[in-house]
Amino acid sequence: MGNIETKTNLDVFRKEVRAWLEENCPESMRKPVKSPDDVYWGGRKGDFDSDDQKVWYERMLAKKWIVPYWEEKYGGGGLNSQETKIITEEMMRLSCRKPLFSFGISMLGPALLKFASDEQKMRFLPEIVQAKIRWCQGYSEPGAGSDLAGLQTKAEDKGDHYLVNGQKVWTSYADKSDWIFCLVRTDFDVPKHNGISFLLIDMASEGVSTRPIKLISGKSPFCETFLDNVKVPKENLIGELGQGWTIAKYLLTHERQMIGGIGETRKPRPLSAVAIKGVGLTHGILSDSSLRADVAKFEMDEAIFDMTIERAIDEAKAGNNSGALSSFFKYYGTELNKQRYELMLALNGYKGLAWEGESSNNGELARAFCRTKGNSIEGGTSEIQLNIISKRILGLPSK
């Protein structure tokens, strides 16, 4: 089949997708998501917030478009990347919400597909699509921070199971999740990167408990998770024993791209519009000339950063791959986002500083501002990204 034929087929497919979405996506599921609480996460404890949410999820599930690019035997749609892209683009065009928010899809799935046994894939992947299990990530530990490889949670080999003891921190929504995918130390005698394994743990097991962490934003999207003599069946090990670090790095690269901007779908309001509304014009020029300069500079960098994402995709397509680029995107994207919120505060003046009350939607802007400060910390700090760029891209030596 030649190129032209394929293109025609894709055009047909696009039309079908568009028509189906227009007919099947409920109106309320085309409104912007207000907060992470406002969407469907699935899981044992999760429930639908509205009928529309339920209808939308079920229709998409039946259509096999929850994860269109996974194989059908895993509950996916068996579609190729071009078709998947078309579905994503058409959903964006209509502002359709994702029917299911899931770390299982975005963060665990890629690891299972690449490192798990066939049996494990058959066991875990369909449950993700069916929203039966909500997953969370257990990498970080108290005191470890950027030094992920220094983790201390240990899994001892007890014959038919591992006995896991330790504490995880920064586990997103652990209190609402069913299973956790964890990095655990299975060998203390080898160099620290080598003794780490990747383990799946049912949080209903005895000895697992969680405690939410309150952030400076006043919200608690993260938890501490305690693992106290937890018995984990050996078949829950993903990949080889000691391969955990490799798996985690593979996933972190995915995650960095998400945080840094690749994969973002919603475009925020242009800062210049906020500026005009917030500060006003004098002789057709923003009334505050310092802010005007800052906004123009920000919009320049933002526009060009977007082009850089576009270029990276095109370069990748052309086969010009560059691995450590994810560090660049993570670093620059998060720093830009922090800048955006600094400017948002400046532009909104007193109005942006309210913390409670209806007129500020319970301090929506101020809390979002606080939250952005974590962007350059989570998923590898900005300093770590700069280290990676220095070493891996620029080839600068360590001492």
């Binding site: 220094g150 006043g218 917030g278 600094e342 500083l353 309210a354 501002f369 910390i377 989570e378």
Partner: protein
Amino acid sequence: MALVITEEQQMLKTSAKELLKEKGPVAQLRKLRDEKNPIGFDENLWKEMVEMGWAGLTIPEAYGGLDFGYTGLGQVLEETGRTLTASPLNATVLLCATAINLGGNVLQKERLLSAIAEGQLLLAFANDEGAHHNPNHVETTVTTNENGTVLNGTKTFVLDGHVADQFVVVAKSKGEVGLFMVDANAKGISRERIIMMDSRNVAIVNFDNVLLDEDAALDSFEKGGSALLEKTLDIARIGLAAEMLGGIQESFERTLAYIKERQQFGIVIGVFQALQHRMAELYCEIELCKSIVIKALKAIDEDSSDLPRLASLAKAKLGETYKLASNEGIQLFGGIGMTDDEEIGFFLKRARVVQQTLGDTNFHLDRLAKMKNY
């Protein structure tokens, strides 16, 4: 004037540091926040502050104050900046007592200043009307009708506005800006408390045909109402800068201590040169902050004609540096810094609110440029 504080000022500063460390630490602000305290500050601590004379530091002895000067008050404010202590010092003492002392007649001063010095009176300064500090944009009016002289308008971001006994209101009377004393319980006043990001309080205050006393106007400043407003604001900006200096230094010192103990990859992160250079650069900025604050405080006490420039320099520079210091604080504390349990985030929040209060860095850079005709 030498840019150092006197021994007496140092003693005041030391005693402030001790009291606030013990009775007004960051933990106290957290407590007020968590219990959703209706007042927003600790009344017992305020009583102690009053007993130590802080409410009357800048009030003449004739009206029951200590006449100790603004450089002295600045030392206390700097310490409240270190502990983030909420108190009536900013609204009642720094803003309103200053306005009354500058613009009031003898009767007004006798009536109001001694009550302030004794801690009997809480005041709030009602000036801004929009989302940004813009003191000259005044639509609130004082007019005369058949009932007498009445006040109409709405004020935003009135510090301590929800608990004040009286307001100092900036309003236009016959096209001229003036300052007016208004009883907070007068008929026609409604106020909405707003809890801010820094857990302090402001209010939106609405004045609807509020009848004013005959002696409401603070009109004894020789250069007129507009100049009175400007001078009051400049003094208050410098006082805020002193508070900010405390917050900046405290954030910096906490961050410095943290990177000296926090271990990553088997060593304390303070050995990393990239962090060292950032801390050293911040140190330099803080040295500049110290200079402009002491210079500006002394200029108040010496009644310098250079006050507007120094006030804007102080507020602009301290605003910029507090932003930098608080951002570095959060980033270097890392994940811990993002938690509400750790106190460094309180400085981030205070930095952003105090930045907007009485004009942010941009506002003052603009003002400085205009002073130099460009």
